[in-house]
């Protein structure tokens, strides 16, 4: 995909992005609401012709040469309806009838964990169960390329893990997967490479390590009535960066183990209570903000 632009009337939802996904690779698109992920997938899935730029899926133009790729793609849309009055089994049967070489119904429902709901009307399914049915229909035709738009949104933690397993299985069988998500941990679990989109542009791209590259781990806690200078950290160049928001401290560090130990020891000595102590990777939002800032500085 090269230099993709997608305009809706006079609003440009995607403003010149490019990436390539190799066969059997899992590529994740992350981004805030309205970043343009779904729009990008819509174009790749052949729903629209790109306003500008060039798109190839399996070597074909997915819009103009839809017939070439139709039966080789599986799609989980962010938002799509079902026939509410059909049961799960009837829905899968219906889809199987126009899918070449479909998986067995039992097998596919088993894979997404819906076998026990086969005779329930789709309208009665919970949100997460519908999401699994989405997935069942997408993998039914043994696709070579799978597009998944937020496949785990609305799933409980166990179901999310099951979906991850399913996706890993597909990738192991050689399926190429393009996935969007709001969760950095999902990308970390699954993706070979990822891109982060913001306002229609890719702001950073690469392996997770590349993307996190240089960004430290965060130690977060609340500590009333303590000044930053009382903390056990050296405040020099290359040292942890400390930000204070009211009573909430965020310490960004490249030596989380050492800094955490120093912090706990100091807290023990002085009898501090570290409220809501948490150690974590930077969140997507933090990465966006930082990228946006660096861009501003660079400009």
């Amino acid at each position: 995909m090269r230099n993709l632009h997608q305009r809706y009337d006079d609003f440009e939802a995607v403003r010149g992005i490019a990436f390539q996904v190799g066969r059997g690779e899992l590529y994740a698109l992350l981004g805030t609401n309205g970043a343009g992920k779904t729009t990008t997938l819509d174009v790749l899935e052949g729903y629209h012709a790109p306003t500008e730029g060039q798109v190839r899926v399996l070597g074909h133009d997915p819009f103009a040469q839809r017939a070439e790729v139709r039966q080789r793609m599986g799609i989980v849309l962010q938002e799509a309806g079902f026939y509410k009055d059909l049961t799960v089994a009837e829905t899968v049967n219906g889809w199987r009838r126009w899918t070449p070489r479909p998986l067995e119904r039992g097998q596919v429902l088993e894979r997404v964990g819906l076998a026990h709901r086969a005779d329930v009307r789709v309208g009665q399914l919970s949100g997460g169960e519908k999401r699994r049915l989405d997935l069942a229909l997408a993998v039914l035709g043994r696709p070579e390329v799978l597009f998944l738009d937020e496949p785990t949104t609305g799933l409980d933690p166990e179901a999310r893990r099951n979906v991850w397993e399913l996706i890993r299985g597909m990738v192991a069988e050689g399926t190429t997967v393009l996935l969007t998500t709001h969760y950095l941990d999902e990308a970390q679990q699954l993706a070979d490479r990822l891109a982060i989109m913001h306002m229609g542009r890719i702001v950073t791209e690469g392996t997770l390590a590349d993307v996190l590259g240089g960004r430290g781990t965060r130690i977060v806690f609340r500590l009333p009535a303590v000044r930053p200078s009382d903390l056990p950290f050296d405040l020099g160049l290359g040292r942890p960066r400390i930000t204070l928001d009211g009573e909430a401290y965020t310490v960004e560090t490249h030596d989380p183990q050492g800094d955490l130990r120093r912090l706990l020891v100091r807290a023990h000595e002085r009898g501090w209570e570290l409220d809501g102590l948490e150690v974590r990777r930077p969140s997507l939002e933090e990465i966006f903000l930082e990228v946006a800032e660096t861009e501003k500085v660079a400009a």
Binding site: R70, Q71, A80, Y83, K84, L86, G94, R97, W98, P100
Partner: protein, 263 residues
Amino acid sequence: MSWFSMAWAQARLNHTVLMRMRGLAFSVLFLPLFLAVMNTSAVRVPVNGVPAAVFGAVGALAVVFPFTYMTITSSIVVRREERIYKRLRGSALPTSAIFAGDVLHAALIGAVQGVVILVFAMAAARAPLPQNIPLMLVAFVLGAAVFAALAIGTAGLIPNYEVAQIVALPVLFGSLVGAGMMFPLSALPDWAQRVAELMPLTPIVTMIRTAYLGRDFGQDAAPEVGFLEGFQVSAVGLGIGLLWIGIGLWSTRKYFRWDPRRA
């Protein structure tokens, strides 16, 4: 997998879904039969020597087409608004098979109903055997095509399922009253007659009567016509039908949308 088997699969699923929508299924499946029976006794006096009941019953065959319209518009609107179309278009189905499945489904229902009405016409109204069966088939295919094209062409202008139901009513009543089904158009004032002759169902009704009864009902006197003559006198009707198909296709290009969001 062949294109036809995909279209067929789509038609089949359409039918399963229709059967679950009880209210719509009832109207679409039984109302035409009911109206056809009513229509048989609606005509009071013999027309050009054709007994009233026969004239009514044969014309009543055309009642299935406004229902074709209703079946197709409702299912298009429901699937668009519930974003089922988006899912279908992302499946292995070609777009043409989606349309073809819709049309095939509605046309098959119409065909079965047509046969039932035909049998009724012969049994209850003592209509003779149809004279020109190929012309009847042409009339049927034309009717299905005209109303399918109009259905797909107008679906883009119908915002939701409720409106689809309401829009179907004037189409139905207009067809019943203005197409010469319930009474011969010659009963209308002259100007209304001219207008009615251009309506989409009128040429179909006339063609069916001509084919069935072997007389040219395009003329007031309804002279008898032979087999080939039957086709000749139906040419104008065919032209009007094709014109409506053209209008339907044009409107499809202009107004059809897959997505509930107005672009």
